[in-house]
């Protein structure tokens, strides 16, 4: 087994790398790059300026806005450009907190949100707001009934992500939105991970606000969007000039806005075919990993999940060491292990779906993209059993398990729907 791994490690030096971390970021699409560089070369004007260069920039900016609006099936004046998805989330939460403070100070969100929402909610708590963090089920799904039960007289906002960035679970956003509508509550959804992967039309989803980010769909980093339904009152987050209808100060990043529009256009053109293609690769990976590696389970929902997301837990080993070996073998992946963050806690998402920390440390996330191929999946499925085996041989937990001193938490045959009860009970 070890010889095979050594052989693979040698081979990897002469093989192209496999990028399996598209949920972290994506490489800009050549056509997007083309638009962006052309804009930077030829449209340098400030859209607020009152002369030709300015008019040209302003025209291009509005063109990008209207393209995006039409793809999302919303009005142009409901699209606001920001610097990133995190800014959009901050704006939605803090803006709503500020403009509705007289009505109430209660916000509802979930335990599995991205830090851009979670830490913003925590910051608001420090300012005297009250936040309910809803639980999720073992697949990471939020129950719309739980949202309804959490609503109080003083609730001013509900914020639930469209799809989870770690485990890929797609939330029942439309149903949650309709609960919010019924109670006359504004509903925000962080759609950063979902845009470009599944069809997103904010109105159909009953969303009043949605956050998006360019670099998750093959546009550059440094551009985001906040969709805000017309008529919804929202205090500014970034005060300044009259840009973005006076709602978001700062000279507009015209080139990146145009790049975002191009990226969205490309994403929507290929949405169905790419989703289908990636889903097939995804399921090959999930089935292949579970079949080849004992004591392995899928994290997240088996079917209500993003077409490009694979998240599995391997028992008895730790995630960062999996990533290091995979990196040496030419694969870029990600993990929810504590050691890949700067804290000592494993992923809050894995803990929220009820996974004991000792298993959460051994998680691996593979996220596919437009460049992913069957060959890459084949290569991955060939090496992953070798990687896990290598680390298990080193693990004292594996030794304890094999010698009958420790009961496994994930059955040997593993699966897509494995409930883990309790932990090892060691300390």
């Amino acid at each position: 087994m070890n010889d095979q791994l050594e052989q693979r490690l040698k081979e990897a030096e002469n093989m192209p790398r496999v990028y399996f971390d598209h949920a972290a970021t994506t490489a800009p699409h050549p056509e997007v790059l083309d638009v962006v560089t052309r804009m930077l070369n030829h449209v340098f004007g400030n859209p607020s300026s009152f002369y030709k260069e300015g008019h040209k920039a302003s025209y291009m900016l509005e063109d990008a806005r209207s393209k995006i609006a039409s793809l999302l099936d919303v009005r142009s004046d409901e699209i606001f450009f920001t610097s990133c998805g995190t800014e959009s989330d901050n704006w939605a939460l803090k803006g709503m907190a500020l403009s509705s403070a007289s009505k109430g100070r209660h916000i509802i969100t979930s335990k599995i949100e991205h830090h851009a929402v979670l830490h913003t909610a925590e910051a608001l708590e420090k300012q005297g707001y009250d936040v309910t963090y809803l639980d999720v089920d073992r697949f990471g799904l939020i129950n719309p009934d739980d949202v309804e039960k959490a609503i109080r007289q003083d609730t001013i906002l509900v914020s639930i992500m469209t799809a989870n960035n770690e485990i890929g679970t797609v939330e029942p956003i439309r149903e949650i939105g309709s609960v919010c509508r019924k109670h006359g509550l504004p509903f925000h959804s962080d759609g950063v991970q979902a845009l470009g992967a599944i069809p997103i039309r904010p109105r159909e989803l009953n969303c009043d606000m949605m956050s998006f980010s360019g670099h998750k769909l093959y546009a550059p980093k440094g551009v985001g969007i906040l969709y805000k339904r017309k008529g919804l009152r929202l205090a500014n987050f970034m005060d300044g000039g009259a840009q973005e209808h006076g709602r978001r100060g700062g000279t507009e990043n015209v080139a990146y806005a145009a790049g975002f529009a191009k990226a969205l256009e490309l994403a929507y053109e290929a949405l169905e075919s790419e989703a289908k293609r990636q889903m097939r690769l995804r399921d090959r990976l999930i089935d292949g990993i579970i079949q080849r590696v004992p004591h392995t389970k899928l994290n997240g929902h088996p079917t209500k999940r993003l077409p490009n997301n694979v998240n599995v837990s391997f028992e008895f080993i730790e995630g960062e060491s999996i990533l290091l070996l995979l990196d040496a073998l030419g694969f870029s992946c990600s993990s929810g292990s504590a050691c890949t963050s700067s804290s000592l806690d494993p992923s809050h998402v894995l803990l929220a779906i009820g996974m004991p920390p000792e298993v959460a440390h051994g998680s691996l996330r593979v996220t596919l993209g437009r460049s992913s191929t069957d060959e890459e999946v084949d290569r991955f499925l060939e090496v992953i059993p070798l990687v896990v085996e290598r680390l298990r041989v080193m693990s004292p937990l594996w030794e304890d398990y094999q010698q009958g001193r420790l009961a496994s938490l994930i059955p040997e045959e593993g699966g897509k729907d494995v409930t883990i009860l309790g932990g090892y009970g060691l300390s």
Binding site: L9, F316, I317, E318, G319, E320, S321, L324, L325, A328, S337, A338, C339, S342, L344, P346, P356, P357, E358, H361, V393, M394, S395, P396, L397, W398, E399, G423, Y424, L426, S427
Partner: protein, 141 residues
């Protein structure tokens, strides 16, 4: 965060990984909940560590520090091994990222725990030696 070449080398090619079936002493430290456990096996003859092996559940630096710790103590007397510090393990690896320093602490603790086991069992524990085991009382995470 990036590892030094030496850390990566010891992670990719761990030295002395495995078990010693007739070990004179063993020490296990860490906690699966925190994501790292180290088990150290020592073979001691006439107060000299003639062999050391490890098993580790943990991140790259946890594996590398265990590997380096075994290299640093093999051939040493138990009293020489007793003064091994986490800093010495980290330095021998050309340093560790600050968030990973606790892995070197774990490596020091694993060696000490095995030695504690040895001294106690052999009736060799003295007040001076006992003084050296204070690190075992520290928070292991």
């Amino acid at each position: 965060m990036e590892y030094s070449k030496k850390v990566l080398d010891h992670f990719m090619n761990p030295r002395n990984m495995g078990e010693i079936e007739d070990a004179t002493a063993t020490g296990t430290v860490g906690n699966p909940i925190c994501g790292d456990i180290m088990k150290m096996y020592l073979k001691i003859e006439d107060n000299v560590i003639v062999d050391a092996k490890f098993k580790t559940f943990g991140c790259g630096s946890a594996i590398a520090t265990s590997s380096m710790a075994t290299e640093l103590i093999i051939g040493k007397t138990t009293d020489e091994a007793l003064v091994l510090t986490n800093r010495a393990v980290a330095d021998a690896l050309d340093g560790l990222p600050p968030v990973k320093m606790h892995c070197s602490v774990l490596a020091e603790q694993a060696v000490k725990k095995a030695l504690y086991d040895y001294y106690q069992r052999e009736g060799l524990m003295t007040p001076e030696r006992k003084e050296m085991f204070k690190i075992l009382e520290e928070d292991e995470s």
